[in-house]
């Protein structure tokens, strides 16, 4: 009797802590279970998904390379992601410098503007970019719709909020005096930028690059509108495959994609603690 009373007392005192732990565990489960199932499914032997599996196989991974749409999509996604990464840095680095170091008027407005692609749903950006590119094409006769340039341009747009946030956060943490020290020692503004500022914010730049890559590599909504006829990116290939068939091939593709993105995230985290910026 006394034992039960003691347990009840402990429970009463500690229930908030247990409740918090339970809630945390539930959240993690909700987030991680789909990923776990995708990984698990990709090794199922049976073609039609059913539980429990009839056995395990690696055949979905090997057959993957025999299906050109996945290989092509992978290469296109890789190309686009790399170009979008470079484009994101080309905008993000100068923009961060302007936001953090200059005394531009309207810096707050500029900041909001640069972060705005985060707020607009991807599908809306995709649609509007598509119409925009058509208009530009009509006006200038440049072949923009369905071109690689148009696709990369769209992807750069969605990487900008990330590059700006990551690089600006890094820049804010840097003592301005080291730039003054460089100028005091005879470095003009350009050399100060190249020899001191950029090397010092390298972690932020690397993180921004990797993050841009991830954002672009996994993007579906923009690519749907901007990809050229006959071309395909990996997420589009997955979507198209799913329209006809659900078998572990998709799980295998996804596993590869998840692996690449996780690797990039873990890499990024080595340079900048993502939890502090995102």
């Amino acid at each position: 009797m006394a034992g039960a009373a003691a347990v009840a007392l402990v429970l009463r005192r500690r229930w908030p802590r247990y409740a918090l732990r339970a809630a945390t565990a539930t959240c993690f489960a909700v987030m991680l279970l789909p990923i776990f199932f995708v990984c698990w499914l990709s090794f199922f032997k049976n073609e039609i998904l059913s539980f429990p599996p009839e056995g395990y196989t690696l055949r979905w991974f090997t057959s993957l390379w025999l299906q050109p749409q996945f290989a092509d999509g992978f290469v296109t996604s890789l190309e686009v992601a790399l170009l979008a990464m470079l484009g994101g840095l080309a905008v993000g680095i100068p923009a961060s410098l302007a936001l953090v170091r200059s005394e531009l008027p309207m810096r707050e407005t500029l900041n909001t503007l640069l972060l705005s692609p985060l707020v607009v749903p991807g599908i809306v950006i995709g649609t509007s970019l598509y119409f925009f590119l058509i208009d530009v094409e009509i006006a200038t006769e440049l072949p923009l719709t369905g071109s690689m340039a148009g696709l990369v341009f769209g992807h750069v747009l969605v990487t900008i909020p990330w590059t700006v946030r990551l690089i600006a956060a890094n820049l804010i943490g840097i003592d301005r005096a080291i730039e003054e020290a460089a100028m005091n020692l005879g470095a003009d503004r350009l050399r100060t930028l190249l020899r001191v500022t950029l090397p010092v914010i390298r972690p932020g730049v690397v993180a921004a690059a990797l993050f841009s890559f991830v954002v672009s590599f996994g993007n579906l909504e923009l690519s749907l509108f901007l990809v050229s006829p006959g071309e395909t990116t990996l997420p589009i290939a997955i979507l198209q495959y799913l329209e006809w068939k659900i078998d572990p091939t998709i799980a295998a593709v996804s596993l590869i994609q998840i692996a690449i993105i996780s690797a990039a995230m873990v890499g990024t985290n080595r340079f900048v603690r993502l939890s502090q910026v995102v």
Partner: protein
């Protein structure tokens, strides 16, 4: 090395006068200290000399060269920053070499001069370390070597000791002073610490509210302060307000009549340094008053007293403990006499 001239230099931020009408000539090889509380404009003045702040008015000359419109990277000053501002991504060697690389010196010359500079600050052994692997004192010396290696026309020190602990601070300031003498460096240092300022300077500029309060040597500032601000900022002092009532005669508002040495005009304030007041033996003194000891604090070399005079004024008194036992003479509540000579009185407008 060259001399530095500031001619009516001002800096105005919005409607705030950070520095107003600052005129000063710093001789070649002189160690000048800008001293004042925070916000007095001393750092702004230093940053104008370095070229980081553009003066709103006035000219700045190094020797005969007008540098007012030159950017910092064309001025050839060596600045030691308060937080040292070492390049975190470069080794000690590369930090020191930076200025020489910017000047496009040959590899061999850079190597030689960097080694020399590091030897000067006794850090040869740590050339390959990264800044974060150094102690505060070592970082400070790297910053100094980095500023000196470019053979600057002027060495600028922005609160160079404020990040060091007390013991190291004393050591480093002696080192900086010796180095400055040996190399004959024209030096401008900014500090809010009067002890630090007094210990290294050839000449000091006391600043407050963006204006020069007084320029002079330590002795001049201490013994002939130009105003109440300087008198209270440099050392400790007792102030008695009142007016002159005759030649060499001052009468305080509390009714004390005091003999003073000088007979200047409409002074309203009398300052007496605590160490100039004697306790006890008032034989033949021109100024001698009765009082009660209110507070005693024994500080080893000296003992400080607060004495309440019959007039109601409280007087801080500092006595040297040169004779064993004199501490015992006065305790709280002792009825005593205080005395001082007319020439101990500083009259301030």
């Amino acid at each position: 090395m060259s001399s530095v001239r500031l001619q009516s230099v001002s800096k105005i931020y919005g409607d705030q006068r950070a520095v107003s009408d600052f005129t000063l000539e710093i001789a070649e090889g002189e160690f000048l200290v800008l001293l004042g509380p925070s916000g007095c404009g001393k750092t702004t003045t230093l940053r104008m000399i370095a070229g980081f702040v553009e003066p709103s008015a006035g000219r700045i000359l190094f020797g005969d060269r007008d540098v007012t419109d030159l950017p910092s990277y064309h001025r050839n000053t060596g600045l030691v920053f308060q937080g040292y501002a070492l390049f975190p991504h470069l080794s000690v060697f590369e930090n020191v070499a930076f200025g020489l690389r910017m000047r496009r010196l040959e590899r061999a010359a850079i190597e030689k001069r960097v080694r020399e500079a590091l030897r000067l600050v006794r850090l040869e052994a740590l050339a390959e370390r990264m800044p974060r692997q150094l102690s505060g004192g070592q970082q400070q010396r790297v910053a100094l070597a980095r500023a000196l290696v470019i053979e600057p026309e002027i060495l600028l020190l922005d609160e160079p000791l404020s990040n060091l602990d007390a013991k190291l601070r004393e050591e480093v300031r002696v080192e900086i002073r010796q180095l400055q003498r040996r190399l004959g460096l024209t030096t401008v240092m900014v500090t809010h610490d009067q002890e630090e300022a007094l210990s290294v300077a050839d000449r000091l500029v006391v600043m407050s509210n963006g204006e020069i309060q007084q320029i002079g040597t330590q002795r001049e500032l201490y013994n002939a302060p130009a105003n109440q601000f300087v008198a209270s900022f440099i050392g400790r002092t007792n102030f008695l307000s009142g007016a002159m009532i005759g030649p060499q005669r001052f009468r305080t508002e509390s009714g004390l009549e005091i003999s003073v040495a000088s007979a200047a005009a409409p002074e309203r304030l009398l300052a007496i340094r605590p160490e100039r007041v004697r306790l006890g033996n008032a034989n033949g003194a021109a100024n001698s008053f009765a009082g009660t000891v209110e507070f005693v604090s024994y500080l080893g070399a000296t003992t400080e007293y607060v004495v309440r005079l019959a007039s109601g004024d409280a007087l801080a008194v500092e006595m040297h403990n040169d004779r064993a036992g004199n501490v015992e003479l006065f305790t709280v509540g002792s009825q005593i006499r205080v005395a001082w000579d007319p020439d101990a009185c500083q009259l301030i407008a």
